[in-house]
Structure formats: structure tokens, C-alpha cells
Amino acid sequence: MSKLDLLREAIRAKLPELDLVLAWGDDAPLRAAPLFVRSEDDLTRLAHPALCVTNGAVYLYTLRSKKIGLVVKGCDSRSVIQLLQEKLVARESLYIFGLPCDGVIDERKIGQEITDAGRTVSLTIEEGRVRVRTTDNEHVLDLDAVLADRCLRCRYPNPLIYDELVGEAIAVGETPQEPDDLDAFENLSLDERHEFWMETMRRCIRCYACRNACPMCVCRAHCLADSRSQHWLSLETNVSQKWFFQVLHTLHLAGRCTECGECERACPMGLPILLMRRKMNKEIKELFGYEAGIDPTATPPLQTFSIEEDKIWEREL
């Protein structure tokens, strides 16, 4: 049985005990959409795992009163762990289908490879290659060339938490090298970094898709950015307001962000905003030796403190 068939059977077997199952549906040829499985009929629409880019953990907090089944890739499972850690969802209200993941396709990369990606009729994957049929053409692309960046540096293809693993776990080889975009960014001068972000923010439309697609953004209607009675941010669409929000979001995610990349994927302008979160994570790792979304019983470093931190030399300041 294919992985998709295994998943379908696993959900079918468990569905009677659950209010709904969060999976992915085949709504569009280049990208699956979140699918809320409520009946067996919905299972006919399950999408190919390589198209399942979205992170279902983003819906858990609002659905926390229900008994939820959730299908997770490795990266998604880390968001679930983080939510459990912070007691934002309860383990007993979740049934987790773990889906070992070979990487997901970034539809924007397909758009960079072929000019008529918008007219795609179907996409099939065969032995490391992607065949894209469009209205007028047929293209064959290397799978590696169109995988999402986050998949290229993925160290956790297998879910870290689950009740049931669907299919075989993937043998994890050597830790992939981080692409050097973060190194390249760190090699820039402070002025250059500032200019990079200002130029990026000029293109931001302040739609808050980054915030809303983030599974760790649970403030919802109480976000500082939306507060009018405490006037933290103005409603102007200028660079300083947009930048203020990005910094706020990044700081709020320090030690909590699992780098699922949904912020960047959701951005309609394609802004490289995950870079900022990755940089923050790197700082957290260097300072506290901590990585988010690995251990459900850990406490994020910024939600606790030690009298004397190992790597913060406050006495010498």
C-alpha cells in the first residue's frame, strides 16, 4: 500500500472516536490545502504527501475543546510538542498520526522553473522527478530543485511525537548542512543587515499572514499589533511599523519557534522572514543550548531563569 493509502486507512479506523481529523486535501495541483476530515467521504480527497506544505498545528489552539486527530510531518510534530510544553493544548485531546516525510514541494520554486506554473493541470512524482502538466506543456523537473528550503535542511523527517506512525520511519542520514544563507547574512555589516531588512519591509503589505500562519502565535485577538487601547503600533503602513511587528514576532518566538517555515510560506510577497527567526534560534541555541519543539517536558529558556546563567556574564557587564 502507498503511504497515502496507509494514511487513509489509519484515519478511517480512528475517525469514529474523533471529532475531526486535520489532514491535507487535493484542492490544487501544486499545493494541498488543510482538510478537515469529518466523514469517510472526505478521505477521497487526501492529497499526495509531497504537497502537504501546511502545518495543521496552527489550528489546534482554537479547536482545543474538541477531540482532534492530527496528521503531522516531522516539522509539524515539533510545533505540537511546543504547544504541549506550554500547556496550550492537552495531550489527551489529541490523537497524532505521524507521517514520515520525504520533503514537500515549494510551489514558488516550480514557478521559478517554469513560466506557465499557474496553468498547471496535474503534478506527479516519480523517482526523484516531478512531472508537471500544464495546459500547453509538460515539464519534468528534479524533485530536489523544487523541494522547500526548510526540507533541504531538515533534521527531523520523522515525527517526534505520535500515537501511530503511518508507514516506515525514514532512515536519517548525516545532518544536512545548513544552507549558507544564514552565514552569508551574519557576514554582512550591521548597516547592511539593516538595509536588507528595510528593503524587505518596504515590500511588506502588513497582512499578518506570517503571524496567523504561525502555530506558536496564540495571542489571537489580543496581539499587541492589534491593540488600540494600548497604542503600541500605529495603523500606518510604513517601514518602521512593519519592522516593529517583525521584531516583536521574532522576540516573542525566541526559544519557541520550531522553524516550520509557515510564516515565510504564507507571505504573499515572498519575503525571507524566516531568516530572522532562524537567526534568533541560533542565538538561543548558543546561549542556552536549547532547541524548541523536541522535548514535551522541557521549559523554553525565556520562560524560566537560572540564578546564574552559564553563558550570560552579567556580573562582568
Binding site: P34, G111, T115, G118, T135, R206, A221, R228, G270
Partner: protein
Amino acid sequence: MSLAFLAREKLPAWTERLRRDMAVFAPILKNGHATFRAVGPNEFLDLDRIPVTSAKLTVFPQTDILFSFVIKKNPDDLTQTDIELKSNLAETPRVILGARPCDARGLLLMDPVFDGKVKDPYYLARRERTTVVALACAQPDRACFCPGAGGGPYDTAGADLMLLPVQDGWLAQALTEAGKKLLYDDIFEAPGDRQPQAQELRAKAEAYLAHAPDMRGAEKPFWRLFHDEEFWDEVTAGCLRCRICAYLCPACTCFTISDEEQGLRGERIKTWDHCMSYMFTQEASGHNPRSPKAYRMRNRIGHKFCYYPEQHAGQVSCTGCGRCVRSCPAGIDIRRIVDKIKRKGV
């Protein structure tokens, strides 16, 4: 109407020439994303890709400073203040270069909102000075559905000048006097024998969109489903409540007004609002009549496909541009929602 030809390599010269007399708003490419904005010196337009954003910001900017104010204290009696106001009406003439037919139609849909019983002088100041150069869509994509919203890939509604793509450039067709004025003799040439080619591309584009779902006529089914909470929960389930759909929409007109102050100075600004955000209907009392996101989605869909058409002879407040479909991070497709309404609300 007679045609003129604009060679592909003359586009930068034409843009620069237009910039002498007016602000040019056009799609500019950056990192694979074409977005409408005011064109700076020597910036290259991208007329090939379907722009991610719509052209509406030309007449309805995301932030519009209505006026600035300074509160002045009386030095002899600090409890006495006076206020100095300075209005900020945008009066620069402007042209949208490369508005898609769906963008041009979007302007026509916004007009009755800002130029109805109540006139918005800020909108009108821009609108009356805006010339629309529309670019016919020879390559609509799978998110497009303009015929289902009353338009078409070669629809001329709302355009002053129409650009029809051909292999080596565009055939320009003036539709109004304002459009004709932009056909500078030193830039445009005789059309030659390119017309059949333009016709062929047109036929292909129209054939591609022949099966676009009709988004009109959902008013009655919508009312029948109004109280069906299960239905609205289901179609809203994946929504992340971000603002992409409204911000990219050429027909969305909702705005909010706020005073942004720093000390005794400030500005009163009009900014795009968004109906999927909780704040949209948050009342001063703390009560929110549209607290669940499904209620907000019902309002969004209702506004576009029921309330607006009921007031505007059946015309939906949607141009079928597909921008919300293309960019929705949760894969929500407005066509599917309207289709479900029409099927279920019978």
C-alpha cells in the same frame, strides 16, 4: 477605433515619458513577485506576470493621510488649546500602466462606494486624475475567473487605453480622449499586420476561461443559508484570519480611520481594514457581534455576492482576478464557497 503599436523595447521610454507628466503606477518585479506601486526612475515594468497585488492602491492607498494636526497650547493659559489642521488632498495626475481588465473593473466597483450618496473627496481627488492603461490578459491562469464575475480577459470596461499583447509588443487601442493623449507619436508606430495575431491570442485566452464558474446570482441562496452555522463553520475552517484576500482584492473597499499621534502632533489616517480580523467589528463596549471567524466569513462572502449585488443591479463585488485564490496560505478558494452556496441554498 484605430490601433497603434508599442514595441516591447519602447516600454521603458514610454514609461519615462509618462513619468514626466504624472505619477505612474505599474507592476514592478522583485524576487519573482510583481506588485503595483509608484514607478521610480529607470525601474522596469513587468507586464508578463499576473501581479500579486491589485492596482487599487492608485486611487485607494493602504494608508491615506487625510490631514495632519498640531495642538497648540496658549502660553498664557496652558489649559487652553487650539488646533491647527492641514488637509492633504492628493492632486497629482496619475496613470495605471498595465492594469489588468480585472483591476480596471475593480475601479468601477469601488466608484459607487466612494462616489455615491456620500462622496469621499480623497478618493475622488485621485480617481478623477487617473488614466487607466489596461493590459489584456493573454495568459490567464487557473485561479482566474473574470468571465464569472461579469468581465473577461479582454474586457475594456474602465479602461482609457487598452494594450493587446502580440509577439513583439502591444497593440494599443484608445477608448477615451484621455487614453488617446498617451499615444505619443515618437513612441508608437503603425500597427502593421499584427491584428490577426492579437485576435488569435484573445480567442485562446477566452477559450481558456470559458468554464469559469458564474459567481453571480448567489443572493437568494445566500439568504437561505444565512443561519446555517454548520455550513459557515465548514467553509471557514481553514481560514487563518489574515488579511491577504482583502488587501489583494481590487474590489474590497473597507477602511478604518484613526488618529496617530506623537505628543501634540498627529495625523488622521484612513487605512485598509479587513473583515476577517477580530477587530473589524469589535465594539467599544467590548462586545463583538462577529466573534467566531465563521460569522466574519459569512459577512465577507455576503458583502461580495449578496449585499453589494442587491444594491448594484446584480453585479458582484468581485472581479474574478483570482488574487485571493492564488495567495491564500490556507488554500481557500472563493469560487468553491460560492459554488457550495448556490448548490446548497436552493
